[in-house]
């Protein structure tokens, strides 16, 4: 390195209280002027040792832990955890519970996408948009509160089904919220998605090629934005996704704009899925009783289950040794891949103006990195 480079290069720390960071996370960048030479992510601000903690708790207690692995989209964690236990213990789930779980997963995806879209656009300075989307997301939070008692963490999907059935008139209110969010989509497009300045800022930024995406293990909307129509809901259907009609939106550009377009189109698909569920959901019980959870010993065995979360593919590998606690629960989340490895690769060579946008466009979830 020449003397001039030594003076010209500098380090910039973007930490957990920087407005441009997504959650409790940080990365250090080495810069030359506006150009990022290299970036190193630094997780650990939220480390609560979820995986290890689960080994010390009863199976039933962990339901309150797993949802905290991804705050904006907690339900895929609950779903994976419940399904893994059901597979090991051979528990049957009532048909209606499968439909309710699918509804909850799609509402969670919607809420997470509204949050993610808002966060992404905010990185370019258009703050009206996140205020709109987050206020609209609140309508979904109200539905969750009514159904589960919790707005953010729901602790609702138990082994054997779900904790309780719909309250009176809940289906009508779900449809009303879907109608409302659908009516807002054109406003979203006018304000942000079709905003010429936003398009200019997001196009060609943080480009991932199809080959890179497959090589790096990219999943979810980030992968679909590279032209790969991969989705666990279609490829390995769970709950009742095989009974529902929906499309997998894709783009081929692989840049930040393609990623936001894919998420924006997925909102439409989720609204359609929710309507189909409300239309087709059968009557019946919602939970098959499990043994006393405080004394319950899940038979020895292991299970690998996966869901398609708003962040990408979420998988749980659970091992039971026949005791009251899981022997091992390993979480394969999308955010460790996207928020650490992919982010570091994309930041190198980009510009400081785009660093935050690249991070938010990947829609990673820092607590999952720290699991």
């Amino acid at each position: 390195m020449s003397k001039i480079d030594e003076v010209r290069d500098y380090e910039l720390f973007i930490g957990p209280n920087h407005p441009g960071i997504e959650g409790n996370f940080s990365f250090k960048m080495k810069l030359q002027g506006d150009k990022i030479l290299s970036a190193k992510t630094d997780a650990g601000y939220l480390h609560r040792g979820f995986e290890k903690l689960m080994e010390e708790r009863l199976f039933i207690q962990n339901i309150a832990i797993v949802c905290r692995i991804c705050v904006p989209d907690p339900d895929p964690n609950e779903n994976n955890y419940a399904r893994a236990i059901e597979e090991i213990a051979g528990i049957e789930v009532p048909e209606r519970a499968h439909w309710i779980r699918t509804l909850v997963l799609e509402l969670s995806r919607l809420a997470s996408h509204l949050f993610g879209l808002g966060g992404h656009v905010a990185t370019t300075g258009l703050y009206a948009f996140p205020n709109w989307t987050i206020a609209d997301r609140d309508r979904i939070m109200e539905l969750f509160e009514e159904l589960t008692g919790g707005r953010v963490y729901h602790i609702y999907q138990l082994p054997g089904g779900v904790r309780r059935d719909f309250p009176d008139g809940f289906e009508r209110r779900v449809l009303d919220v879907m109608d409302y969010i659908e009516s807002r989509l054109s406003d979203y497009d006018d304000l942000a998605i079709n905003n010429s300045l936003f398009i200019k800022r997001a196009t060609g930024i943080g480009v991932i090629t199809k080959e890179q995406a497959i090589k790096w293990g990219v999943t979810g909307p980030n992968l679909r934005a590279c032209g790969v129509a991969a989705d666990v809901r279609k490829d390995d259907p769970y709950e009742v996704y095989d009974k529902l009609d929906f499309e997998i939106p894709t783009r081929t550009e692989g840049d930040a704009y393609a990623r936001i377009i894919v998420r924006r189109k997925e909102i439409e698909q989720s609204i359609s899925i929710v309507r189909q569920i409300i239309d087709k959901i059968p009557a019946g019980p919602v939970w098959n009783k499990i043994p006393n959870p405080l004394k319950w010993k899940v038979p020895a065995g292991d299970a690998y289950v996966r869901t398609e979360s708003s962040k990408g593919e979420y998988a749980y590998y659970m091992v039971s040794d026949g005791g009251r606690n899981p022997y091992r629960v390993h979480v394969r989340g999308a955010s460790t891949t996207h928020g650490v490895h992919v982010l570091e690769n994309l930041l190198a060579g980009s510009r400081i103006e785009d660093a935050s946008q690249i991070m938010f466009s990947l829609d990673a979830c820092p607590p999952e990195v720290d699991r």
């Binding site: 407005p19 441009g20 990185t123 300075g125 258009l126 709109w132 206020a135 304000l191 300045l197 103006e353």
Partner: protein, 296 residues
Amino acid sequence: MNVVLWIIFLPIILFVIGTFMLGYSRKFIARIERRYGPPIQQVFYDIFKLMNKKTNISHGWMHDIAILMLLGGTLLTMYFVPVPGFHFFAQYGDMLVIMYILLIPALGMALGVGETANPNGSIGISRALMMLAGYDIPFVLTFIGFAMINHTTSMYDLMLAQQAGGIAGWGLISQPLLGIAALIALQGMLGEKPFEVMVAPHEIATGPMTEMGGKYLGIMMIQHAIGIVVELTIYINLFLGGAVNWFEYIVKLFVLFTMLLSVNAVFGRFRTDDAVRFMWKIPLPLAIIGILFIIF
């Protein structure tokens, strides 16, 4: 009113107006964002709180002086810009002087923030100076155009010349190309989106303000409040016929500010180079064409 009284009270009056305008801007933008927004007097509370904070960290005497230079430069500009009832200093300094001393706050900020050695602040300052190169040239050209028409560089005389022609005599009506060019440049001068590259919270954590706290931040907020009024007043005097009384003046201030805020609320920010490029692609050619119309 006595000149001495004007000198004493003008900063206070413009500070009060500017602070209410900032409060209004927060409320206005909040409503577009579908929020309730803070009370309109919130900026007063913020400044009062900041000015009463104990200063524990100093970045040296140069930093302290530079912050005062920032405020002093704005106050000095304020005295040279005619407002209804007071144009005493306008006869001693024309637009050239105003354009010159308008640079002092930017230099003061550059010195003060440079002393803090915070990279976010330094990047913010370099962006601010780059933006200066973007909006200053079209703005100066529009002024040159008006000076050519009216054969004077005095802002007060330019204002009187417009008032003599009624609304049709306003710079924005008689020379629309120059008026539009200056309006875009004014958006950049105020640092409103899409030209908000100096602060850019998601990129450089509010830039120059990152390392500022307590009284330093309080002084910056006071300067910002007065600076907004001064810059809007320059535009009103050059393109909207000035104002003959305070009611007209305040109405024009708020109408103009609301227009700029409306753009600010529904756009993100440019990248720095794109912001400067935009200034040189749109307002600069507009100003040049406007001048060519005047010449030929």
